[in-house]
C-alpha cells in the first residue's frame, strides 16, 4: 500500500489508548522534571540552559587539574579526546565525587600513561579551582583553591585501583 493508494492505517481504539497513555506519562514526566527534577532525569531534565542568574558582584569559578611529573615538572592535565576522555565541564559536574574520594584522580594518571607512554608520568595530581571575584562585573581579584589531591602510587606504571 505505498504511493498514496487506498486508506491509510488509521488510529484504532487500541492505538488511541496507548497514544493517550504515553502522552499522559510523558507529559507528567516532563512537568515533574521541570518542577522538581534535575539533570540526572534526562531526557526529562529541566530546561535549565542559561536559567541561572549571574550576580555582578559574585564569583566565577573555573576548574583545572595539575600534575607533578616524574621529570620534576608541573603541568596542566589536558581534557577531552586527546586527554582524559572527559571534558572540563563534565569534571565540574562531578566535583563532589572527587572531593569525597580523591583516589578517582588515579584514573587520570592511568589514562595519561596509556595514551602518552613517552611522556613522564604523574606523581601527584591536584584538582584546583581558580576563583575570580567580580565587583560590578569586573574581575577584582583571583585566587587558586585546592579541592583534592592524590599521590599516585607507582607513577612510572600507574594501575587502575580496585574498587
Amino acid at each position: 500500500m505505498a504511493r498514496g493508494t487506498g486508506e491509510p492505517d488509521d488510529v484504532t481504539a487500541t492505538a488511541w489508548r496507548w497514544r493517550a497513555a504515553a502522552s499522559l506519562l510523558v507529559g507528567l514526566g516532563v512537568v515533574l522534571g521541570t518542577v522538581v527534577g534535575h539533570d540526572r532525569w534526562w531526557p526529562l531534565a529541566p530546561m535549565a540552559q542559561y536559567a541561572f542568574g549571574v550576580d555582578p558582584d559574585g564569583e566565577i569559578r573555573s576548574t583545572y587539574v595539575e600534575g607533578d611529573t616524574t621529570a620534576g615538572t608541573t603541568e596542566r592535565v589536558v581534557f577531552g579526546m586527546d586527554g582524559i576522555g572527559l571534558g572540563r565541564a563534565e569534571l565540574e559536574g562531578q566535583l563532589d565525587r572527587v572531593i569525597a574520594d580523591p583516589s578517582l584522580l588515579q584514573a587520570i594518571a592511568v589514562a595519561h600513561s596509556r595514551r602518552m607512554p613517552d611522556q613522564p608520568g604523574y606523581t601527584e595530581l591536584r584538582m584546583k579551582q581558580r576563583v575570580s571575584t567580580l565587583v560590578d562585573g569586573d574581575e577584582a581579584s583571583r585566587d587558586d583553591v585546592l579541592l583534592a589531591a592524590w599521590v599516585v602510587p607507582d607513577p612510572e606504571d600507574p594501575q587502575v585501583l580496585d574498587r
Binding site: P8, P43, L44, M47, G53, V54, L86, G87, A89
Partner: protein
Amino acid sequence: MTPTPRRSRNSATIKDFAKAPQRLNAWLFTEMPLARVALLRVAVFAFVVIDVLKLHTSGYFHGAADPVWYKPLVIGEILSLPAATLLMVGLLKWGSVVFALAAMTGKAPRALGWATAICWTWYQYVAFAYGKVDHDRADFVIALFLLPTVGLAHLSDERKSQAAGFALRAVQLAAIATYFLSSIAKIRFGGWEWVNSATMARAVVRRGTWVSDWMLDVPFLLHAAQWGLFSAELLSPVIFFLSERWRRRMVLAWYLFHVATYAAITIAFYPHLVMMLAFLPLEEYRDTAVSRWRRWRAARENQTT
C-alpha cells in the same frame, strides 16, 4: 430563509467546556498529510547522520574515558546501562548513521525508525552520563520515537491520516514545551529576578562574537533582550491559538531568534530547529519549489531553442 441565531464567539457556555475533551481529541488527531510526515522524517534522519558525525561528538570520546567517570543517569540505572567503551560508542555512532540512512528510503519505517531512535538516544545518554547534560536534545527523542508510529508514508503520498496528525501535533507540542518549560526553569533556578540578572552579559563575555561584543557597552540592550526572551518563552503556547498565517510568522520569528543567538554566542539548538519544521506545510513548499524550478527550466529551454 430564517436567520439562525448567532452566538458571539467569546461567550463560552458550560456546554462548550463539557465538550473540551472531545475538541482536544479532535485537535490532537486532526488528519494531516502523510507526505508531510515523510518529508519531516527525511529531515530528522538526515539530521541524525550529520549530528553524530559532525555536531555532537562528546559521546564518542567517552568511550575512551575511564569507567570511574561514568555517572549513570536515572534512566541508565533503571535499564542498567553500562559505562561506555570504544566498541560501544562505535556501534552506537555507526548504528545511528546506518539505520538513519536506511530509514530515509522510507522502507520498514517502524523497524528502521525505532532502531535509529534507540541508537541515537543511547548515544546521547553516553554523552550526558559523564557529568554534564545538554538541554536542547530531549524533545528530539520524542520526534524519533513518534515518527515511526505513522507507518508507511511516501514522499508523494496524497493521503491524510490521523496517525500522521497525532505525530506532527506531538512534535509541535514537544517543541513549544521546550520554550515554555525553559521559562519555568528560569523562574525555578534563577527566580523572577532572572530577567534583571547578568545572564546574557555573562554569556556574551564567555562566548561573544563580533556581532555581539559591542552589546556589552549597551547594557540596556542585553537587559531588554532578557525580558523579551523570557516573555516569548512564557507566551510560546499562544502559537496553537493563532491563525495559520500568524502561526507560520511565529515559527519564522523563532527561527530568526535562533539565527540571532548563533550570531551572538555561537550556540544553536540544532535538533530543536528540525522539530520546528513540524509546524510547516512541508509538502506544499516542496510542490511550489518543484513547479517553480520546472517553469524556470522550461523557460530556459524555450530561450535556447
